[in-house]
Structure formats: C-alpha cells, structure tokens
Amino acid sequence: MPSDTEPANTFVETPGTLDALRGQIASGRIRAVDLAAGYYDRIEKLNPRLNVYLSLTRERAFAQAERIDAMAARGDALPPLAGIPVGIKDVLVTKGAPSTAASKMLRDYRPPYDCTAVARLEAAGAVVLGKLNCDEFAMGSSNENSAYGPVRNPVDPERVPGGSSGGSAAAVAANMAVAALGTDTGGSIRQPASFCGVVGVLPTWGRVSRYGLIAFASSLDRIGPFASNVRDAAALLGVIAGHDPCDATSSTAPVEDYAAESDKPAAGLRIGVPAEYFGDGLDPEVGAAIEKGIEHLKAAGCAVRPVSLPNTRYAVPAYYLIATAEASANLARFDGVRYGYRSPRSATLADLYRHSRDEGFGAEVKRRILLGTYALSAGYYDAYYRKAQQVRRLLAEEFLRAFAEVDAIVTPTSPVPAFRIGEKAGDPLAMYLADIYTVTASLAGICGVNVPCGRTPAGLPVGMQVLASHFGESTAFRVARAVEAAQQ
C-alpha cells in the first residue's frame, strides 16, 4: 500500500508521444531546448526522492537540442527522434561522461567512446539527458544493488521499481524522460517495465549491437528501449537495431519498420498460453489481470490456445549458472590496472587485484563472481556449466516447438507486483526465483515485450509478457498493441 504521507502515483506522469513532441518541435510550437530545460526542472524536483539519475549530461543535451532547433528554424526535415529527451542506463558508455555501471569500481570512469545504441539514438536527433541508476553491473531484480542507493518506484516510492534497469523504467513512468535505454540479461528490462507500468522491449539476442555495453553475460545481454506506449517502443527499436561492424555477434537480419508493423491488427494471430507460468507462486491478483488481458486478445480476434513448456522450472538454475559463469569472466577485467578503481593500500600486484576488487565491488557482484567461478572450476565445469548449457538447448527447442504452433506466447512478466524496498534484499535465492518467467526467453535468445496489463486492486501495475520467436519483434508488437488498446 502507498505510504501514509504520499498518495499513490504522486510521481507518475505519462510522457508525450514521439510523434506529438517531434511534430511540435518541427512546427516551432515548442523549442527542443525548452523541452530539455523542462525535463531538467522536473528531474531536479523528483530525483532527490526517486534517485533515478546518477548523472546529467546537460552540455551534450543542450548542444543537441540547439542543433535540432536550428534545423527546425531552417525548415529542414527533422530526424525521427528530433528533440526527444532520453535517459541512458549507466551500463551503456557515453563518451566523456560518467558511466559507472552503478558501481564504485567505475565511479570516476569516463569512457573514450560511445555505445553504438546511444550513438544511433543521437544520430536520430534524441537528446541524451543523463545516465540512469540501475543494479550494480546489471546484477539484480530490484535496483537495490546500486552502489549509489536504490531507485524508488514512482507508483509507490516505498517499493522497488524492479531491476536491473530500475532507473530506466522509473524515468519513463515518472516522465523524467520520454524514453530510455536499458539492458536485459535475465529480465532486467521486462520486469522493471512491469513493476512501473511502462512498455519495455527485449530484442532478439543479436538484434541490437552490444558495442559499448559494459558486459555482464555476453550470451544473454541485450540492449532495449523503454517507452510509455508500444508504438514508440517499436520506433525506438527500429532506430537502434541493425548490424554493427563493431559487434561481430550483431545480426544482419533486416530491420523492419517495427512501428508500422505494430499498426497491423492482431486478429488472426495464434496466441499460446503456457500453463507452467500460471501455477503455484503466481500472485492471484497478477493472474487475474493477465487473464483479463488474454480475454481482450480473444475479443481482438486472436486464436488463444494452451502450449506446453514443461522444462520451465529448470530455467532459473540454468540461468544462474550460465549468467554467473559468464559474469565471472567478464568482470575479470576490473583489476585496478588500466581503468576504474585502484585500491591505494596495495604493496604487491596480487594485493592490487584483490583489494581493488574487494573495495570496488558490492556484495551481489561478489556473490555472482564466486558462484560463476565455482561453476567453471576444475572438477565442476561438466556438472554445472556444461549441464546448464545442455538444459539451455532443451529450453530453446521447447520454445521453437511451441512457435511452430503459435505466433506469440503470453505470460505474466513477474509472479508478483512491485515489492517493498528491503523485503527480499536479505534472501538472494528468493530474489533469483522471482525471475522465473523472464529467464526462459533470455536463455532461448527469443524476443519479447512487456506491456502494461491492468493493476492490482491496491493499484500496483501488472505487466504482460508477449514473447515471439527469433526476430519476430513485429509480431510481439502487434499483440502488445492489442493488449494496450484494451486498457484505454
């Protein structure tokens, strides 16, 4: 329940749409610099309470906004995101500006290059307002693992916004940005989107270049957009997606006009509902809201049928072995030598490594590095890491079999709505188990969208997860639009 002193939703505000804002800038009704200034005013008012932004990039933002205003004044055609204020999760590097990964390890780090996804947003005219708080190195499901304090859910500041992209979700929910970029490794876009009541996109692995993403688990990490509505989220994906020579794993699959595809009615699409996502552990109020959403899909002309994903329950253990193993390798680079935090108290090189990492990393990061190292160590590699990769194939194949029968699969995004700050922080395993509905898609590499799907009786947002097969984002957006339309 909301606290006694703050009525619910005090901080919630819906941003304008991309089309509306861009249109107003193009016609001269508003100036991009005034729009940016207005957002900075709102950030100044709300950030002390919500802790959404870690740093602001005012110079960069206003320089971009001035460029856009000059184009508008000349009557030039404006790029698709002209003047749109966006926030960027702090695991994505922004040249010369803080990129801390919400860790002490990178507190003073100023990257010498830009993340490709950020550069593409800016090339499309977006105004980067600043860097968004998140769980440290993207490890967490509540944004309570940040070295710079938790983010608070704008719907109820005593509750978590979800994680790890809590700042990104909260920024859009509180209109502290029109849109945001986040990252999703095990659910870190979808789950905070569901907790905050906004749209979050999980692109297919390889759809968006990972160049400039501070890596957590390379075979799982994806960059994706947050927005206040499905069409805008689709448009944003279209801007950042596509092959990048700087990321050898980025796909050459053609980038569709996702926004236009999302306009197509969902009637006739086959929707799968897996019983495994509606069993024990699902909060009945969340279940009820999702069932309503499924009824809307039927009313929209979708053919809804059950599908079977029997290995779902093995996804969390498989995920936490693979993700932590890859993390232990990716975070080995933080050694105090070339960048990042260096402990002042080291007399030998060995001490330098250990002290810098001990002092630079938080508890959850250390826990995952240790678990991952254990899973990969001699004598355990076959039993843990290799076994998990075999289970991963079984999970992926199970999805592919289902997608031979249906076009999209819908589930709750999270078994519970936003919980209170501190409620799960003492029990890492409980936190991991709450990822059950999202890690499956992460392991399989498929795509999905979280779309707001009602609220609990207490007013907490519920999100529906719409999953589609590899590079099937257009289908996921079409279904999500139908769910969204029914909410108006």
Partner: protein, 101 residues
C-alpha cells in the same frame, strides 16, 4: 551433485577469482552459495544424455552475424584511453612490483 560447500571451497574460489572476502562476509557468502547450489542441483533431474550444449543462441535463428573484413584501422585515441589509467608514465600502465628482488 548435492554440494555442501565448505569455507575452504569458498576461500579457494575467492583466490581463483581474486575477490577478497573478509571474515565477516564469509558465513553469509557460504550460506548463500549453498542455498543456490542446492537449487541448481535440480538440473540433475533432467536427462541431457546426447544433448549438445547451446552456447550461442544465434545458432538457432539461422541468421548469421557478419564478420568485418580483416583490415587494420585506427584504434581508440591513446590519450583518451591513458587518461583513465590509475597510474601511468604516459606510455605504460604502472603497477606495484611483480617480482621481489
């Protein structure tokens, strides 16, 4: 595979990972690791005989990534990179002595 991880196991792994744990941090980490490993023990219920590990999901989607041509280009600006070094002589990263004479 029901593991009972001991303090010695955790210390060994911490050494491998170059992560230092204080005595205060050790019991909590031990408890958490054991709880998590008990959870992952469930994977043994699945018969994975003959199943090939899946390390790269792009294998499934049939759409390849493209390698860029193997041509030398300009790396990151050296000055910008070295500006982030905790300690440098301008050319090298400086670290404490590795070998004691």
């Amino acid at each position: 595979m029901s593991a009972r991880v001991t303090i010695e196991d955790v210390e060994r792994v911490a050494e491998l990972a170059n992560v230092e744990l204080t005595p205060e941090e050790m019991p909590g980490m031990l408890r958490d690791l054991n709880a998590i490993l008990d959870c992952v023990a469930e994977l043994n219920e699945l018969d994975t005989e003959g199943v090939a590990p899946l390390a790269q999901v792009s294998e499934l989607s049939g759409v390849a990534a493209a390698l860029r041509p193997d041509r030398a280009g300009s790396p990151l600006d050296r000055a910008a990179v070295m500006s982030q070094a905790p300690e440098t002589d301008g050319v090298f990263f400086k670290v404490p002595k590795v070998i004691e004479r």
